[in-house]
Structures are given as C-alpha cells and as structure tokens.
Amino acid sequence: MIALAVVPVVVATLLIGARGVAAMRTTSDFLVASRRISPTFNAAAVSGEYLSAASFLGVAGLVVKGGVGALWYPVGFTAGYLLMLTLVAAPLRRTGALTVPDFAEARLGSATLRRLCAVIVLVIGCLYLVPQFTAAGHVLTLVSGTPYWVGVVVAGAAVSVTLALGGMRAATYVQAFQFVLKLVLFIVPAVWLLVAVGPQVRGEALNPVEFTQFPRDTVVDFTVDTRLSLAEPVTVRIDGEPPVTLPPGQHTAAAGERWEFPAGAAVPRVDGAEVPGSTRWERPLLDAGPTADGSDGHALLATGSVLMATALGTMGLPHILIRFHTSPDGRSARRTAAITVGLLGAFYLFPGVYGLLGAVLLPELYLSGATDTVVVALPSRVDPGWQGDLFTALLTAGAFAAFLATSLGLLLAVSGAVAHDLIPATLRRLRLTSLAAATVVVLLALPAAQVDVGALVTSAFAVAASTFCPLLVLGIWWRRLTAQGAQVGMLVGLVSSAGVMAAGLVAGLEPGVPALLLAQPALWSVPLAFATMVAVSLRGEPPSGATSAMLRLHLDESRPVPTRSRS
C-alpha cells in the first residue's frame, strides 16, 4: 500500500515533463531550456537535482553505520557550491559551452580532449547513477515487499520517459518542484519524529549508549553475506528454525537469511562498521574504520579526504555544470551558486536528526548493513499505527523524488556526452540515447544491490575532483594551460581516482592508512592531477589566442564595454 506513495511523484514528474514538449525545438533547447531562468528558480532546480538519494537516505544511513562524523559529507557537498561560486560559475557560463566537453574544446581547441571529457562524463555518470537506482530498489523492497528489481525498473522507466518527453526545459520545472517536495517531505516527518519519540528517546539520542545488548527481540534480515564476530555465546533462530547457540568467534550470515535475536542477547560485531553509540561512533570526525589493534582511525586524514572529494568534486559534476548554463549570463550563474549554498544548508540540518534517532531506535540496521533504509524505516518503528504509515509514505515519496531528480540530470548529461560529444546529434537521437542510457544503468544496478549509496556517490565526487576540477580551474584562471597538459592531467586524475579505488576494492587491504588512501584517494589524486596538468603545460606552448580565450571568460558580457569616444 505504502509503495503507492511513489505514484503521485512519478505522475507529477511525467505531467510537468510533458508540458515542456510543445516548446521543444532544437538540441540546444533540449539541453539548456533556452537559458531563460531566474537565479532563485535555477538555484532551486540545482538543489533539487543535487539532493539525491545519497543526501535523502545515504547521509542518515552513514551516521548509523559510521558515526556522527558522517555529517561532514553534507558539509563538503555544500562547500562545493561555495567553491563553484568563487572559481567557476560565472566564467564557465560565459564560455557558452553546454557541457564540460564543450568547454574543453572551446577553451583549448582540441577534439581529442573533448572526447576524453565525454568518456569521463560517462564514468562519473555511472558511478552516480547506479547507487540512485539501487536505493530505489531498496526503499520499495522495504515498504512494499516487492522484489528489488521492481523498484529499479520502475525508477528507470519513469526517469527515461520523462527525459525523452521533455528534456531539460521539463527537467528545470521538475527539479525546482522536486526541491520543494523533498524539503517538505524531509523536514515535516523529521519534526513529527522528534515530537513523537518523546523526551526519553530524544535524551538517548543525545547521550548514546553503546549497542552491546539487544534491548528487545530483534529480527535482522541479511541482504549480503556478513561476517559477524561474537564475544560470548548467543542463541539465535535462523530462518525460523529451532534456536541454536552459536559459540564465540567468527560466523557468517548468508545473504537472504533472517536471524532472530532474543532480548538481552549480546550484539555481534561487524567488520568495518562502528558500533552505534560507541565512543568512537560519537566522535564528530570520520575515520578509517576500526583497526585491528584498536588504534586511532586516522580521523583527520579520513575527514580531509572526504571533504576534498566532495567540495572539489561538486564543480566537476556534469549534471550540475550543465544546470548553470540555464542562467542567462555569468552574473546570474554566480548568484545561482550563492543561493544554492543557502538552500542546501536548510535541507542538511535534518539528516543528522534521522541518523541520531536511527542509532537509538534501529541500531540493528548496523548488523545487516541496510542502513540506507533508516530514514524510511523510522516512522513505523516509532508509531506502528496510521501515523507511522502516513509518514513512511511521505518519506518514500520524498526518497523516490530524490532518485528521480538526480537521475534525470545525470541521464541528460550522460546522453549528452554520448549523443552530443561522441557523435553529433539530432534531437531525436538525443532522446533515444537517454532511453538507451537508462536501460544500461538499470542493468548495471540490478546486480549492485549491496552498495552503500553514500560511499559510491562519494567515489563519483572523487573522480570529478581529480579530472574536471583541475581542467576547469586552470582553464579559467591560467592562460598557459595546453590541450596536452589538460589531457595528461585528466588521464592521471582518472587513473589515480577511479583506477586506484577499483584496485583498492580488489586488493581488500586491512583498515589503515594504505587502505584509506586507496579507498578515498582525493587527498592525493587531486593535487597530483593539478601538478601534472601544470607540469605538462609548462613544457608546451599554449595555443595561439589562449590569452584572449581565457580573458574573454572574465569579461562581464551583460554590460558591454562602453566605447571610448574620441571627441
């Protein structure tokens, strides 16, 4: 029943999308909605596009799993707009380029560079899109019991039909509408939860107690194979079989198993996650996960990596950059970025509320790893009656709005990269490409059920920070940048971010500094990409007219230079 809450969201998205069709004429219309959008409206659309499942569900989930320090993620997400405002918003808008690949070609005049940029757009798009679709599957599984793939397919169908019907003009209305929707659907349930849980739970949330004993009979559904360590014998019913007593030591819960723990049983520990309410969980810094010897988790290094990736990665996200081109000129693009910082700040006051309440009321999610569902699962835990159902439905609708909004923008960027940069496109082909791209992402998301939304999205930020961020910053501010320098620098950035993260997954190191630097490489991969770009550029000659091409970006086009009269 509750799953029906997604229906109005999808229908409204489709209707608003369909409105744009009549006005759709050219590829440029499709991509940037003819550039007639006010800064405030555009900032709402940017925020609507940006607040994905990672923000709506992922941050609260990471708080339950990793501790209060996970609240640094949204700080980085928001600081990204401040950097964008400072460094790229206005000049980038003045290039008139529609996408990063366009910018690269307009500024440096290299078609090879353009294609490399398009490939990077595809990498970032996939890393960002797949977790959106998996989150859709999980939320629908939780609220309705439908299989995981149903949610993924429903999300994919809704997104690609909207895009094919309306494109960006539609997407701008959709995104602004979705921002307001998400803000309301996130804040109202949070306030209700805070009131409904009562003073005792509120107190517990602020004075967390380590989750060592199950306070009540608890059912845990494992969706992936999970290694648990027991310090003392625990009696547990697995899949409704008669209770068995497990001896202390390592045990594995297989995917699909349902374990029932009696009240008072000792809570097993899970590798790689902080126990909710523990001292380390309470520290407001990220860390590299509990180390075997219990030593310090390198909190500053871990926090710094995440902040570096999220703050610098924002300016390289292809679906966000294209949004700034819907501003009429550089100044309003800059204003859009500034207003966005404020709008995001209002939203990000609340993930912490869900995270802290979740750690008190649903700490068992830490065992199954399904912490991404904590936001949607909270209301029925607090109130099993109709009120709980109502707020679960509202949050489900909001979460679905979050996948739709972000996925729309990302699919547009991905299909733009394929149809606009890799192959010259007509409007018809651009529409077909977005359908094809959605299908590919759905197929990728189906086997990826166990990924953490927040973690995978952060890897997309790391790739963006290591490739597009140096290209944009140097391209806008440094006249000596050469096409070759940009190319080599971005390749180095791509390998040292995406390549190294993949290698880290394969290597599976024990927690520690090396594992941290492989899993979250931004702290060194971004400076490396910048340094490579500068070093290679200095060895070559910038293209003729580079100075003029760069200076043009700083010329305020809305106020033409007054011609000096000789009289």
Partner: protein, 130 residues
C-alpha cells in the same frame, strides 16, 4: 571602407553572440575560434581577472581555514564532546549546525565582492574614460 557612399542603409547581417557561434560550431564541423577581443576589452578583462583572482584566493583561504580548522580543533580538543549547549554536545553542533550559517555567509560575502569588482570597473570605464 566598403566603398559604398555613406548615408545608405547598412548591409543587414545575422547577429549571434560569440558564445552561440562557438556552441553551434561544435556540432557543425570544425570549431570556429572565438572572436578576438578588442584592445579595450582585453585591457578590461585583464584588470577584472586580476582583481577577481585575488578575491577568489582570499575566499578560498577562508573556506579552507574553516574546513581544515574545525576538524583539527575537534581532534585536538575531544573534551568538546562533553561540553553541552541545550543538551547537545558542542562538537556535534560544530559539524551539524555551525557549517550552514558559516558557508551561507561566506557565499554571500564572496558574491558581493565578485559583483563589486565588475560594478566598480563599469563605473570607472563609464565615468573615468578620457
């Protein structure tokens, strides 16, 4: 210069912004170089860029000081976890609440400064030109 007597109606030409020309060129064949700027425009762009760059660097330093400073303080002073304001640990407020007004304030401040550079330059160019 065109050889036509002055006073006749000028020839009509299609007007597109340079940006549009470049954007269209990307899809219609080899890229067209951006039109050269006039000497005046170059001079002004150079001036504006210099001022914007120095202001951007100050703003970046401010953001960096905040994003590096707060985690370092929280790491150095773990006792902040036990200081409470309205029952909430101060160290939690430092990550959950404090960043929003600070980032919004910095954004507003930098927006004003960046726009002032352009406005001030317009004023000089319009009023101060010989």
């Amino acid at each position: 210069m065109t050889g036509r007597p002055s006073g006749r109606a000028p020839r009509r030409v299609a007007v597109t912004s340079p940006q549009t020309r470049i954007a269209l060129a990307g899809r219609r064949g080899p890229p067209v170089r951006a039109p050269r700027l006039t000497a005046d425009e170059l001079e002004r762009a150079e001036r504006v860029r210099g001022r914007q760059l120095s202001r951007a660097i100050t703003a970046l330093l401010a953001v960096a000081a905040f994003l590096v400073g707060v985690p370092v303080l929280l790491d150095l002073f773990p006792q902040l976890d036990d200081v409470r304001l309205l029952g909430i640990p101060v160290s939690w407020l430092a990550v959950a609440v404090l960043p929003w007004p600070v980032l919004t304030g910095l954004a507003w401040w930098q927006l004003r400064r960046a726009e002032n550079v352009e406005n001030a330059d317009d004023a000089t160019a319009a009023g101060g030109a010989p």
